[in-house]
């Protein structure tokens, strides 16, 4: 039997690789592969053979800090596996595996082995990928082999522990333990753990206020005070009862963080023993998993079908009927509003207009609470939204491309459909950027110092101008991926989640790069006009007035570009014929 299972695993992998190789005949995958490889080369492999010496600054050892932080995270993750275990443990069998293997003359033990073997392939690939990621800049020291084996150990242990916990809980339930008793037992253990940690923090670091004061001071070359923070976490996690609680995690992580081969080999023994103990624990407790596996496979099949149909990737559950974001009057022109209404309905309620005021209040409170030295954090968030927002907010033509026939049967010119489809993601991204802007404005207002010209009127006029400019910039950003979906639908379709591979990642990179290039091409000339207009105004008016003049010019220029873009894309959509495109 095990030979048959190995045959299935081996040939499935071989055919997967063969299929991936064959699809490289299509230019969209070939160019995607080139872009993906280039990305990995420039960001990871170039530094792969680095010196391996960890960077050390301001007296902090980042390795020790990360070691401790990961151990704490591991503790939390393992605790959650026991706190909220799956009542009926399932193994990730596909529907085909269930159809062929469950009725086959295989023991439960053989099926578990088959699944563990399959998971090992995923874990090995993940280990290689994570090694590339963590080797970037050789920040963590060690060498690639040590890191790869370290990751394999950590991931294998995490998987076996989750499975073992689920099996154990299920066995307890099967043995007659009531739900209440089980919850009391788990709750008691978790409470003891939390109490132990609290006791450890209290006894080993009683001067937390001193640490806090030290962190709030200005640190030259380390504005966030990470050195103080790291030292505090290191001290707390390495002493008293917490050190004992974290011991298994330190054993699991020790090979990964070994700086040299000798230390690695020394740490490998205990880690392998821990792994073997987990394996025997899982095999000894393996209980009935078939029913839950079938249910899980069905859920997964539905999710994959949804992903391949371009539907919401983040939602695993069935959609629920919701209250509309605003009342939609049936008549009254402006059918674009209907698309806004429909697309807002398809997204999370907390991205709708009703959530904006509470979110703004929250952002304001947050901005008044966070230390002024962190004023740049919302700027980082804003940059993130600008760069990646259009790829994430897809409640537009991209998600409705499968309904192109229906949309084209509506009595609307193409530009009105395109404009309507762009409104929802533009509104969502604008709202998020406005919140980030509000936070920056409030936080920076509390920061001391700054240039003389940065007066309150200037900051206020800047706030208003940027706030007005945000929606057109978002619309411009969204035009690019939507144009990509209409002009190159086969590229846009394969760039959806659910179809993996380095070449698909490369396709996404090409799209993001194209988006940035078009944005630059649109904003730079418009920005040039704005600077000229602002400069001319500054000769006769105040800096704030010049700023407003520049912003209004930019707004008009962007408005003209967006109008042309939407009209052009509308014409393309009118001629769009999905049936003529290759969607393979």
């Amino acid at each position: 039997m095990i030979r048959a299972l190995l045959y299935l695993r081996g040939y499935s992998l071989l055919n997967l690789l063969r299929t991936r190789a064959q699809r490289l005949r299509q230019p969209k995958y070939l160019f995607g592969l080139i872009a993906g490889i280039a990305y990995f080369w420039f960001f990871f492999f170039r530094n792969f053979a680095g010196s391996g010496l960890p960077g050390r600054g301001a007296g902090v050892d980042p390795v020790q800090f990360i070691f401790a932080a990961l151990a704490v995270l591991g503790l939390i993750r393992i605790a959650s596996a026991w706190l909220a275990p799956t009542p009926k443990p399932s193994l990730d069998f596909s529907e085909a595996e269930i159809a062929f293997l469950f009725p086959a003359p295989a023991t439960r033990r053989q099926l578990v082995h088959f699944k563990l073997l399959g998971t090992q392939i995923t874990i090995l690939l993940s280990s290689l990928l994570l090694t590339l990621l963590t080797r970037r800049g050789a920040m963590l020291g060690g060498n690639p082999v040590i890191h790869a084996v370290g990751w394999w150990l950590v991931l294998s242990l995490a998987h076996l522990h989750n499975l073992g916990a689920a099996f154990t809980v299920a066995r307890l339930v099967e043995g007659g333990m009531s739900r209440t008793r089980r919850q009391l037992l788990v709750g008691g253990v978790i409470t003891a753990l939390i109490a132990g940690i609290a006791w450890g923090v209290w006894t080993s670091a009683p001067d937390a206020s001193t640490w806090m004061a030290a962190w709030q001071e200005q640190h030259i070359g380390d504005p966030l005070g990470t050195a103080v923070l790291a030292a505090y976490i290191r001290e707390v996690s390495g002493t008293g009862i917490i050190a004992w609680l974290l011991l298994p995690f330190r054993i699991a992580l020790a090979p990964f963080f070994a700086p040299d081969t000798a230390t690695f080999l020394k740490a490998l023994g205990p880690a392998l023993l821990l792994l073997a103990a987990h394996y025997f624990w899982v095999m000894r407790n393996a209980v009935s998993f078939e029913e839950a596996s079938i249910a899980a496979a069905e859920k997964r099949a539905v999710l994959i079908a949804k992903l391949q149909a371009g539907q919401r990737p983040l939602s695993r559950g069935a959609p629920k009927a919701r209250k509309p974001p605003f009342p939609l009057r049936p008549g009254g022109g402006w059918p674009e509003v209907a698309f806004l209404w429909k697309n807002l309905l398809s997204t999370h309620p907390w991205l709708g207009p009703r959530a904006f005021v509470p979110a703004a209040l929250l952002a304001f409170m947050l901005a008044t609470a966070i230390p002024p030295k962190l004023w740049f954090v919302p700027i980082i968030a804003a940059v993130y939204f600008v760069l990646l927002g259009p790829q994430l907010a897809r409640q537009d033509l991209r998600s409705d491309l499968v309904n192109a026939d229906l949309l084209k049967s509506y009595p609307l010119p193409g530009w009105r459909i395109v404009l309507g489809q762009l409104l929802a993601p533009a509104a969502i991204l604008s709202g998020l950027l406005w919140l980030a802007l509000l936070t920056v404005f409030v936080t920076s207002g509390r920061a001391s110092g700054g240039p003389v010209w940065l007066t309150s009127p200037f900051r206020l006029s800047g706030l208003v101008c940027i706030a007005i400019l945000i929606p057109p910039v978002c619309l411009l950003q969204l035009l690019v991926p939507n144009a990509g979906a209409v002009i190159f639908p086969s590229w846009a379709q394969t760039a959806r989640p659910g179809r993996g591979g380095i070449e698909v990642m490369g396709q996404r990179l090409i799209f993001v790069a194209g988006q940035m290039m078009v944005l630059l091409a649109a904003v730079v000339p418009a920005g040039g006009f704005a600077v000229l207009a602002g400069f001319a105004a500054s000769l006769t008016a105040s800096p704030a007035s010049a700023f407003v003049t520049g912003a209004v010019t930019l707004l008009l220029a962007l408005g003209a570009e967006i109008s042309l873009g939407i009209f052009w894309l509308g014409r393309r959509f009118e001629r769009f014929d999905l049936s003529a495109e290759s969607l393979k």
């Binding site: 959609p319 939609l328 059918p335 429909k342 229906l406 084209k408 009118e574």
Partner: protein, 243 residues
């Protein structure tokens, strides 16, 4: 009224529909038949304004589709083989959305009896995911009928329906035709043509083989024999093979 003259649709070098002409008057139901790949769906999509044809003229209720696509689309409804619905809109929200798109101000007065007729009244707050295949089809039909179209196009209207659903779909098509709508439907199911269609158009490789009432087309291929079934007529007309 549907008037099609010299319709041509090409995909690259491949001609899907070649110089096709036909007319459907109010109250008539034209059945579009042909082997797989004969150009039925391309024809339906072209005359519904979904894909642009490469040649020919199409008039919907007297409005030239190329010159005034928006005006023409206000008068038509297209029903694809698979009901295209929005996952996150309930039945009533679908109707509200379509009402705004078509500017149907009194949609609630129209929608209520429509939902009753289609047995969807108690499903007003249900999402498409909670509906059966037949219910989804009914919702798609309700959305299409909301603006009282004068022209209707059905692409394989019986796909996936159970016997009761098939019966109701046939009744619904006939009722709209009796109310004066001009209807075109494409189907592989020849019994549907016999029961519902007043006229039939046989396509093969994008070209019209026959066009007329069922009696006229039967006579054309019966070669004087009596009692020849429509299936036999179809086989004789098309050669019985895929194109």
């Amino acid at each position: 009224m549907i008037e099609v003259e010299g319709l041509t649709k090409r995909y690259g070098d491949f001609t899907a529909v070649n110089q096709l002409s036909f007319t459907v008057r109010p109250g008539e139901v034209l059945g579009l038949v042909g082997p797989n790949g004969a150009g039925k769906t391309s024809t339906l999509r072209s005359v519904a304004g979904i894909i642009p044809p490469n040649g020919g003229t199409i008039r919907i209720a007297g409005i030239d589709l190329a010159a005034d696509p928006v005006g023409a689309k206000r008068r038509l409804a297209f029903f694809p083989d698979e009901p295209r619905l929005f996952d996150y809109l309930t039945v009533s929200q679908h109707l509200a959305f379509v009402a705004r798109i078509y500017g149907v101000v009194d949609h609630e007065e129209i929608a209520a009896p429509l939902l009753e007729e289609l047995e969807l009244a108690n499903k007003a707050d249900a999402l498409p995911g909670e509906l059966s295949r037949g219910m989804k089809q009914k919702l798609a039909i309700a959305c299409g009928l909301l603006h009282a179209p004068a022209v209707m196009f059905f692409d394989e209207p019986l796909t996936g329906l159970d016997p009761l659903g098939i019966r109701r779909m046939k009744d619904s098509i006939l009722r709209r035709a009796h109310e004066g709508a001009a209807i075109v439907l494409s189907s592989h199911l020849l019994h549907l043509l016999e029961e519902v269609c007043s006229h039939v158009l046989i396509l093969k490789q994008g070209t019209k083989i026959a066009d007329g009432t069922i009696a006229e087309v039967s006579a054309q291929f019966a070669h004087g024999e009596s009692g020849v079934s429509l299936e036999e007529i179809f086989m004789r007309a098309t050669g019985g093979s895929e194109t």
